[in-house]
Subunit: 389 residues, 2 copies
Amino acid sequence: MKAKNIIFLFAGCLFSQVCLAQTELKSDLKAFRPAESNQPGKLFPQVNDEGKVRVSLYAPQAAKVQLDLGGKKYEMTKNEEGLWTGESAPQDEGFHYYQLNVDGASIPDPNSRYFYGAGRLGSGIEVPAYDEAFYALQKVPHGMVSENIYYSNLTQTWRRCFIYTPASYYENKNSRFPVLYLQHGSFEDETGWVNQGKANLILDNLIAQNKAKPMIIVTDNGYALKPEATEAPEKGQGISIFEDVLIKEVIPMIDKRFRTLADREHKAIAGLSMGANQTMRIVMKNPDKFAYYGGFSGTSNYPNTDVIDPDVFMEGKFKSGTELNKKLKLLWLGLGTKEPAPFPKSVGAFRAMLDKQGVRYTYYESPKTAHEWLTWRRSLQNFAPLLFR
Amino acid sequence: MKAKNIIFLFAGCLFSQVCLAQTELKSDLKAFRPAESNQPGKLFPQVNDEGKVRVSLYAPQAAKVQLDLGGKKYEMTKNEEGLWTGESAPQDEGFHYYQLNVDGASIPDPNSRYFYGAGRLGSGIEVPAYDEAFYALQKVPHGMVSENIYYSNLTQTWRRCFIYTPASYYENKNSRFPVLYLQHGSFEDETGWVNQGKANLILDNLIAQNKAKPMIIVTDNGYALKPEATEAPEKGQGISIFEDVLIKEVIPMIDKRFRTLADREHKAIAGLSMGANQTMRIVMKNPDKFAYYGGFSGTSNYPNTDVIDPDVFMEGKFKSGTELNKKLKLLWLGLGTKEPAPFPKSVGAFRAMLDKQGVRYTYYESPKTAHEWLTWRRSLQNFAPLLFR
């Protein structure tokens, strides 16, 4: 046997019937292209220029198959080979969760990658956006994303955070970096900001263009519950101690493991939706720890839309605009123009309070996006360049 | 509004019908327990002490639902609420890929986590093993696993590797570490050794017990193809250049980004199945680069089971046992006792050749496991302690 290059079978189509059927549909690829969110080598799901999503599933004995996307169920149709295909109405640009329904079973699409949202790992579809270059994988220096498992003494559970380190972290092995703590929304987890949010690629691109300072980003899990006390099991259940976990456990761990700049001038905190609410409370209660705040699609008066009384709201933390302006170097808010109730009015009420109190802040609106990941990718894109200046 | 701890809705059961039905089955939890490989909070799939796997799927209109596991399809049955449940025969200890079939559709189980194998992201089930402590998440110092994206000029594609760094990498920020390059098998990818193999936890545990030296582990993607030449598109297709990518691109990148000990005495290479075959070729062709080799369930004569002629095999690289024994500090082979053909005979023929040539090697057999991840976890557990001594 001669030592030579070997032709290895390449991972791909294992189930030949499906492959044959998919090949027949290839002719349509001009209009519909495989989504960026697909598993390697998968031709479906596809997206066209209008943002319509087309899915396929081989299910020869099924009576009814549907595409469940954006709150609507689209009927799919079967060909002679048993391959079902279906198409959605045009979708907003950006990332959306979806699932398939097969004879009443809600299932992940076998062809998509899976993302943690809506409280489970499920399918996602990437609809190309006009400005997608800012979160695309570009030929620029890339940082790394590290998974860090830790035991929390406060929650008495194993927890996990992810740490983005920029490319320059590995260039000069003595340099130190500022840190942005960045939180996900409800029913999502610590994987969201990288998997759906593409925070690493957004920063790689911003840093390569000299638009943002090289920084570390930490994404932790916003669900951190007080352990059930043995004497009174009902007491602990459901009480969030995320703030304590972040301040007392995560930040010291990050400052120990990474070459950080650990003072408040080099520490920022931001979050989306539930994470915006959580991190606003954290920054207001810990002004010695953070100098920068970002709230993406959420404020701490959520879900309230009433006029805010600054004497009462958050124990009067917003009473003195002058004092707040001195302390916080950045108070940044973002929202999508298509967000549903109560977000526009709730964030609106918060902004009205800031205006009345003379609190300096930056407000950004993401065009034509709802309470979804493209709003938050764009928020990060606009927020990160203002940090650590 | 008073600033106080807020009770957040916790991610979990979103689809109430399924949850109700799952609760009814809770009474059986004594015998069947939720698998370690489940998504957070999911009660199914379950495993019992015999290694039987029980799955459930809510599919009220389906006519036929099956559990497809270990090459067999098990019929599932439906209750009045439309919840299907089914049970497998006892399975071998360790990790197995599986899927569900709903009216002819092969789908991932919505309750399991997903693992890249068989050329796609699919469901996996963890059947507890008598020795599972060695790969369990224990209260010991934990290293990190970092995702590294890079552009390969050789393949002209984006590629990815993962890097495990031990806990002590972050203790002394000037210390340098030896590196093990560790490869997956066919139809798997660079995520396999962490997600299915639990290589990070195995090393965390070994290092904490002082059984293995702290080391860096790098897992790359074994599929690296020559780009199709524009003059002759058919020429490049399917020709593996993984060896070149590893030697010329990955190793220099790792030595640049991480604090490695870059000489051959501190570099090991190992792989499983296809990866064993690939890495054996790499170590034999690059004796200046590696001093340690591990082949888990595979040798470079695969799939051949004939007597090996050392004058011809791999260009005579095994002709002189004396020379090889001087060069290689470790030649390590592992195999499961239940591996199917051609592995036992193929590895057997290779060992017979080594014996005949007087090549020193270590041989390990994993009890009662086939060509599966528990064989490879145990191989790593037994191989890693012998490295860098």
